[in-house]
């Protein structure tokens, strides 16, 4: 069998500490039941006008008759419930959130305010285009900023997330090959790639082949050259890559790829490291998605919604999905089908025009920073990451010690050898020390990976507080070699979080994916 044993332990190793009280509060942090244990079936927090009881009689047996199972709460109860839940989350606004490859930067509140203007939040995607000229113009201006910053001739705004952008790029590539009658089968992806790259390539109907990585964390050119061939449709290379390094040979990668008749898809998840400094269009890239929720600061929102516009080279631009934005003497217009200049569009990626709410936020962010500020964004992001690497590099082991990193510092777990402390233990101990852990066990090519991305929105003081804390923790971890008590502290961590380590094995073996009413006694609060 193929044994994939990389990764983190998934089950807590100790049950030693007895539960004080399963429902006990910690400090002012409350235990909070589920809405289904709090709410009432007849209770509601919304006052609606009365309606005749027989109003749905015309629908006859199309009407549902059985109870649905949706409890309600009054407004004060609802607020308290969700505010209590919120307090069990870490957030950028609380402290450094160093998740590598996720770019957890400050989310300006001006953007939130502007996205809620009635002229943006309260407009319908299918109302007459004459009544939404400002919205289409905003999309056009955003396009101009994105193409100028990337040095690419065109952009497709519809993709709703990074992975959706990857799909958009590959479908454009597929359409370009098909337009030439050139059916190609394979997509090459480096071993260090994010999982969405091979998953997207497979979704777009390609078989996936891996490209080896060199010892200095870059694409192995010889292996790439050996695997390129007439049936390769595209390569998907992240740059800066998932190890936080710039692909030095990117121009040569593009040349080899184009020589084989393939397209160069660049995963632009890490564009924030080079925005305003280097333009992908000058490097030979044919398509690249831009995560507006990373580089351009739209909020991550607990896992979405994102937005993933894709910039396209001249060769791929004709195949961009619907809708297209055009501008003439009559104003702005969306072309929503395969017609006119959009005759070769590969199709439609979703029902409407993309993530307008995110476009407003990203555009406000771009205007705020301007061309000068965005360049400074990249410089400060890279400076901050290198500062962390320099301050921790003597205690922890950088995965690629030679040369600078880009916007994130990658460490492996070689420095923990012999201590009994794993990357997971170290990460969980960070929680007790007041910091969200870094990305762990990614990229897969680095053993016990710890990927730290500070972003440009951290002050030197916060970086120093983080580095000072990690140095203390690292020394503690190293002491675990001959101090069982120290090791136990790491294995038990976190102890100060709302919950201790969770049993992921039990969750997966006996999945409980929704609340079900216990047999007895009835859990609902009295009404």
């Amino acid at each position: 069998m193929s044994m994939q044993t990389i990764g983190r332990p998934t089950r807590p190793e100790t049950n030693a500490v007895a539960a004080a009280a399963p429902e006990g509060a910690k400090g002012l942090l409350q235990y909070e039941p589920l809405i289904f244990e709090l709410g009432g079936w007849s209770k509601t927090g919304v006052d609606l006008p009365d309606v005749a009881a027989d109003v749905a009689d015309d629908l006859g047996d199309l009407v549902r008759t059985a109870p649905i199972g949706l409890p309600g709460l009054s407004e004060p109860e609802t607020l308290r419930h969700y505010v209590r839940l919120s307090q069990k989350n870490h957030a950028i606004d609380l402290a450094l959130y160093p998740l590598g490859s996720c770019t957890m930067k400050h989310n300006p509140r001006l953007n939130e305010k502007l996205a809620r203007l009635p002229g943006f939040i309260d407009i319908h995607p299918l109302q007459p285009q004459s009544s939404v000229q400002g919205a289409i113009e905003l999309m056009d201006r955003l396009s101009h900023w994105l193409t100028t910053l990337t040095g690419m001739p065109a952009v497709a705004l519809p993709p709703k997330a990074g992975a959706h952008g990857e799909l958009c790029g590959l479908l454009a590539i597929r359409a370009a090959h098909e337009a030439r009658g050139d059916a190609r089968k394979r997509v090459l992806v480096p071993t260090s790639a994010h999982g969405t790259n091979p998953a997207t390539a497979a979704f777009a109907g390609y078989t996936v082949e891996e490209i080896a990585q060199t010892t200095d964390g870059r694409v192995d050119l010889a292996d790439l050259e050996a695997k390129l061939g007439p049936d390769v449709a595209a390569i998907m290379v992240t740059n800066p890559n998932t190890c936080g390094l710039f692909e030095r040979d990117v121009v040569e990668i593009a040349r080899l790829t184009h020589a084989a008749g393939a397209y160069f898809y660049c995963d632009g998840a890490n564009f924030n490291a080079i925005v305003g400094k280097v333009r992908p269009g000058d490097l030979g890239v044919d398509a690249m998605h831009i995560n507006l929720h990373k580089t351009f600061s739209t909020p991550h929102g607990g896992g979405g919604p994102g937005a993933g516009p894709v910039v396209l080279s001249a060769a791929l631009a004709p195949f961009a999905p619907e809708p297209w934005i055009v501008h003439d003497q009559n104003g702005y217009r969306l072309i929503e089908g395969r017609e006119g200049v959009a005759a070769q569009a590969f199709g439609r990626l979703s029902a409407f025009h993309g993530q307008m709410g995110m476009f407003v936020r990203a555009y406000a962010y771009m205007l705020s920073h301007g061309a000068d500020g965005l360049r400074q964004v990249a410089e400060d992001a890279v400076l901050n990451a290198n500062y962390i690497k320099a301050r921790l590099g003597d205690l922890m082991s950088p995965a690629f010690p030679d040369g600078p990193c880009m916007h994130e510092a990658l460490f492996d777990d070689a420095w923990l050898e012999g201590t009994g402390v794993t990357t997971l233990d170290f990460a969980k101990a960070m929680i007790d020390a007041g910091f969200h852990p870094m990305t762990m066990y990614f990229p897969l090519v680095v053993h016990g990976a710890m990927l730290i991305e500070p972003t440009e929105t951290e002050s030197k003081a916060e970086l120093d507080r983080f580095c000072d804390t990690l140095r203390v923790l690292a020394l503690d971890a190293l002491s675990a070699k001959d101090d069982p008590a120290a090791l136990e502290r790491f294995k038990a961590a976190p102890v100060a979080a709302p919950l201790r380590r969770l049993d992921e094995t039990q969750a997966a073996r006996k999945p409980r994916l929704k609340w079900t009413q216990p047999a007895a006694p009835a859990p609902l609060a009295a009404e």
Binding site: L59, G119, P125, P128, T148, I274, G276, G301, S350, Y363
Partner: protein, 450 residues
């Protein structure tokens, strides 16, 4: 620059610690020939006031739904969102957190996702729901891909009542995977023709109720026919509020239920971001795309929640994953959950009844206009209306009078030969007075044209 905390002194000190001569020393791996010498050709930074003025100027050139009579639907619906919904989703701990990779410090997100999944399962009448998809249309496309995987068949029958943009989105994804989409002729009662199209190669049947013309159908017989042929039934709902009143997809035999959840908790936003609902029968859970949150215990035996069944997903299965999706529609699903918690069962049913009552009022008003024919007979809150003129032209003329009358069907499906069909929706936000002026305005317009 207000978003950048480092001072020039900080930067100099930090470069010293790093041992770099200047900032360019850190960009040494980028090709020298491609390094930009200065800012690109775009405006320089601006203050908050200037940015606000510029965007407010753009916003002012859009006509908000709330600015007057408004009857647009066709997959996006204007509903009232309680103030507390938007307040809670703007809390830092929800707005500025990410995927709950560290469950010990993300129980807020995980618990609401568990609540969301439970609410969606209840609403759709299904066993299990995921933590959401990008929107209803991408959820529909993923459902078809999932059905092809489960049945190992390669044909999807799409009802002519399916939103044309959902059909197009599904086609985009399906055809590259070798799954053929057979879209049936669009008709008000298109569901009646679906059973005849099912054959032994059919992986799934996709039906929408209420359909794109607003028509409500009991699809139980279609479910039975699909199952008899070894195919799955996918039921699509673009107006989630309708689920508060109508028979659920699960009750009618759906194997996969997908829906656009925007109507609950989320604004129109010119089409996005929205929130796709995705729910299945228990036995299909391991073929599902998207994130799933599950219940477990912590090391002290306390209840807690984690992301689970992750081996389906791209970060583990890579090219064998059930989907390439990597996020959900987090904050939009939170808005949905909060709004649903405020409504509760009682509020949701009442909201749905009000929507239906408004649509009945709209129908009655339209039927008084000579030459105007309401085509939809069994409806929730949306009607297909035949006008004695081109619907696009009618919409433009009425827009000039401050009335957004609806969506011309031809905008969604230009080749269907239904240029005179207008889709009109009414919700609790539609004022009776706005409905009541329609007969006069429509009659005047038609007479002026004649």
């Amino acid at each position: 620059m207000r978003y950048l905390p480092l001072t020039p002194d900080d930067r100099a000190q930090m470069l010293g610690v790093i041992g770099a001569a200047d900032i360019d020393a850190l960009f040494v791996d980028t090709p020298a020939s491609a390094r930009l010498k200065g800012p690109v050709d775009l405006p320089l930074h601006q203050g908050e006031l200037e940015v606000e003025l510029e965007l407010a100027g753009l916003a002012a050139r859009n006509r908000p739904a709330g600015a007057g009579p408004f009857f647009c639907g066709a997959g996006a619906y204007r509903h009232h969102v309680p103030a507390s919904v938007d307040h809670i989703i703007q809390r830092s701990e929800f707005l500025t957190s990410y995927t709950p990779y560290q469950p010990e410090i993300a129980q807020g997100t995980l618990q609401y996702l568990f609540e969301f999944q439970t609410q969606v399962a209840a609403l759709t009448g299904m066993d299990v729901a995921n933590a959401s998809m990008y929107d209803g249309s991408t959820a529909c496309a993923e459902a078809v891909m999932m059905a092809a995987r489960v049945t190992r068949r390669t044909k999807a029958v799409l009802s002519g009542g399916l939103h044309p943009h959902y059909a197009a989105t599904t086609h985009t994804l399906a055809h590259v995977a070798g799954v053929q989409t057979l879209r049936l002729t669009p008709r008000i009662d298109a569901e009646a023709g679906v059973i005849a199209a099912i054959d032994a190669d059919t992986a799934c049947v996709v039906v929408q109720t209420p359909n794109v013309f607003g028509q409500v159908t009991d699809v139980t017989a279609i479910a039975q026919a699909a199952h008899a042929a070894g195919a799955l039934l996918i039921v699509v709902t673009t107006e989630a509020v309708s689920l508060g009143l109508l028979k659920s997809p699960g009750e009618m035999g759906a194997d996969i239920a997908v829906a656009e959840g925007q109507s609950i908790g989320n604004g129109l936003n010119f089409g996005g971001p929205y929130v796709g609902l995705f729910a299945v029968r228990e036995k299909l859970v391991r073929q599902m795309p998207g994130r799933l949150c599950g219940e477990t215990v912590d090391a002290e035996g306390r209840r807690g929640f984690v992301l689970t069944l992750s081996t389906r997903e791209q970060h583990i299965r890579r090219d064998k994953a059930t989907s390439n999706i990597c996020t959900n529609s987090g904050l939009c699903s939170l808005a949905f959950t909060i709004h649903m918690s405020l409504l509760g069962e009682a509020g949701l049913r009442k909201l749905a009844l009000i929507n239906h009552a408004k649509a009945k009022r709209l129908k009655a008003a339209l039927e008084t206009v000579p030459g105007v024919e309401v085509l939809t007979q069994r409806f929730f809150n949306e009607l297909a209306v035949r006008l004695p003129m081109d619907a696009t032209e009618a919409v433009e003329r009425l827009a000039a009078h401050g009335i957004l009358a609806g969506v011309p069907y031809s905008r969604l499906d230009p080749d269907a030969g239904m240029n005179d069909v207008l889709l009109m929706a009414a919700t609790e936000t539609t004022q009776d007075g706005e409905i009541d002026i329609l007969p006069r305005v429509l009659t005047q317009m038609l007479e002026a044209r004649a």
